[in-house]
């Protein structure tokens, strides 16, 4: 058994501070295990949101040593436990208590994205026929577990707080999943430019780096959507072609 010190942020919306907890750790433990152990042995009132402990529910998002990560997927042997390990809530969202933040803005923002509207069914039984090659791109986006780590690390939201202007990487992925769907008939490009502020993304790829599902957010979702916005708003040659399209 080894002893490790964890500095856990304790507080609420009014404020808080890091508090030191030293506990025994063993092989195979993840950060969430250590937090649970501290909660059981030293701080019964420590608030932490968690559910699956398997990296699939997206509940235990936090900042471990300043890196946005899922606590259940961060093994202690991946970090230096000879020094105190800091565990903080996601800084981008308002604090509720300790490690729990209010991420409800994300669900409200998601509702502003135009819903999926399929074309008329291909078969009399009300089903559609799709080629694998056409749905491969959007399948990557369906892996999103809505942990909101990408939203947390995005500097447009984190440092500039442009919540009213920019929907954030998670919702760009969501919009891309709908916009590139082979049977969807809606056009979200205008909304992406105006209401969802895709132009605010400056492609620093922090969202891609923190995604626990390894979704290539910037290259496969945001940039292709930016290119579609260029098609519709900033490309006079394409506009000319569209004018003469039958």
């Amino acid at each position: 058994m080894t002893m490790a010190t964890f500095q856990i942020w304790r507080g609420d919306a009014k404020g808080g501070a890091l508090k030191d907890y030293t506990t025994k750790v063993s092989d195979g433990m993840v950060v969430l295990d250590a937090v649970h152990q501290i909660q059981a042995e030293q701080a019964n009132d420590l608030a932490v949101r968690w559910n699956c402990k398997a990296g699939k529910c997206g509940s235990c998002s936090a900042e471990v040593n300043g890196h946005p990560r899922l606590m259940c997927m961060t093994r202690l042997n991946q970090i230096d436990i000879t020094k105190p390990v800091t565990i903080e809530p996601m800084r981008t969202f308002p604090s509720i208590k300790d490690l729990v933040t209010d991420v409800s803005w994300n669900f409200r923002a998601k509702k502003t994205i135009t819903r999926f509207k399929p074309r008329t069914p291909d078969a009399p039984d009300g089903t559609w026929r799709m080629q694998q090659v056409d749905i491969e791109r959007v399948q990557e986006f369906r892996k999103c577990i809505e942990c909101f780590l990408c939203q947390d690390v995005c500097h447009v939201l984190r440092d500039h707080q442009l919540f009213d202007e920019f929907a954030g990487p998670r919702h760009m992925v969501y919009a891309a999943a709908l916009e590139m769907n082979p049977i969807d008939t809606e056009d979200r490009v205008s909304d992406l430019k105006k209401a969802h502020g895709i132009g605010y993304c400056n492609i620093t790829k922090c969202c891609t780096k923190v995604c626990p599902e390894s979704i290539t957010i910037t290259d496969n979702a945001i940039i292709p959507l930016k290119e579609r916005v260029v098609d519709q708003f900033y490309d006079p040659v394409r506009k000319l072609f569209r004018m003469f399209q039958p």
């Binding site: 946005p68 981008t92 502003t112 440092d159 500039h160 442009l162 919540f163 009213d164 260029v230």
Partner: protein, 267 residues
């Protein structure tokens, strides 16, 4: 957009809980880009030592006007104002320069390394205001696809230069024969690396299939999209390799032309 979340306490510039060397990558990018910008600007204004035998520096290609045998239309036009510095490179370098400036990889890299917006992920920023690419001037980055078209033309000319770099003239007899020198290989490698960078561009990926929802309707387009996507996955690598190779190609031709290095011939 939905109601905004509560405001946060902003962090100061550089403030972070990260304990790793987060400053290393932006510093390396800053040094790399700065070194290239300084060297290429210096080389572009030299207007000398840019050819050696069949080799032509990629900074000076195509040589539209100039004094070397590679010039398309002869020497500098008589109407060129005296007060305006002339160099064949100044006529052509804005095209690849603008292509790299508006490239999605470079944008992300120099926003971090030069503008510090953000300097690194989850690290405090120096400024409170932010416009991104949503408004002027950075909205002009959307010109990237047009610059891509121009760069494709320049790339074709560079490929032709690499081919010409394989044909050497015997100074005694004046006969032209096939040969391979170190410079020939450098120019060929340079074209391969620039092609890998250019054909893996995000705008190219959009043109060949990214703009479609139904890739299956264009089987040839699907294969092209897959190839471009394959190159695109290593876009950063190609961007750096091609940057180094184009700079080194100019340096090699320049050193040979100045007599400091001698070009070794394999054939």
């Amino acid at each position: 957009m939905a109601d905004a979340a509560q405001p946060l306490v902003l962090r100061r510039f550089g403030e972070t809980r990260r304990s790793d060397a987060w400053w290393l990558t932006p510093l390396a990018v800053f040094c790399g880009f700065s070194a290239f910008i300084i060297y290429s600007t210096w080389a572009a204004f030299q207007n000398a030592n840019y050819t050696f035998g069949p080799y032509l520096s990629p900074f000076y290609s195509p040589e539209i006007f100039g004094d070397s045998p590679h010039a398309w239309f002869g020497p500098k036009p008589a109407a060129w104002p005296d007060w305006l510095p002339f160099s064949p490179a100044l006529l052509i370098l804005p095209i690849p320069g603008l292509f790299r400036f508006t490239c999605y990889y470079y944008r992300g890299a120099y926003y971090k390394a030069f503008w510090m917006d953000p300097v690194s992920c989850a690290v405090g920023e120096p400024r409170k205001s932010y416009w991104g690419e949503h408004s002027f001037p950075l909205i002009l980055q959307n010109l990237h696809r047009y610059v891509l078209m121009l760069v494709m033309l320049v790339l074709g000319i560079l490929a032709y230069d690499a081919w010409k770099g394989l044909w050497f003239t015997d100074p005694a007899t004046g006969t032209v024969s096939f040969g391979i020198g170190v410079g020939s290989l450098i120019l060929v490698v340079n074209v391969v690396l620039i092609s890998s960078y250019t054909f893996g561009c995000h705008s190219m990926r959009h043109f060949v299939g990214g703009c479609r929802d139904l890739l299956s309707r264009a089987p040839l387009g699907t294969k092209t999209y897959d190839c471009v996507s394959c190159l695109n996955r290593r876009h950063m690598l190609w961007a750096w390799c091609s940057l180094v190779s184009v700079g080194f190609s100019d340096l090699y031709v320049r050193m040979c032309a100045m007599g400091i290095w001698s070009d070794f011939r394999f054939l």
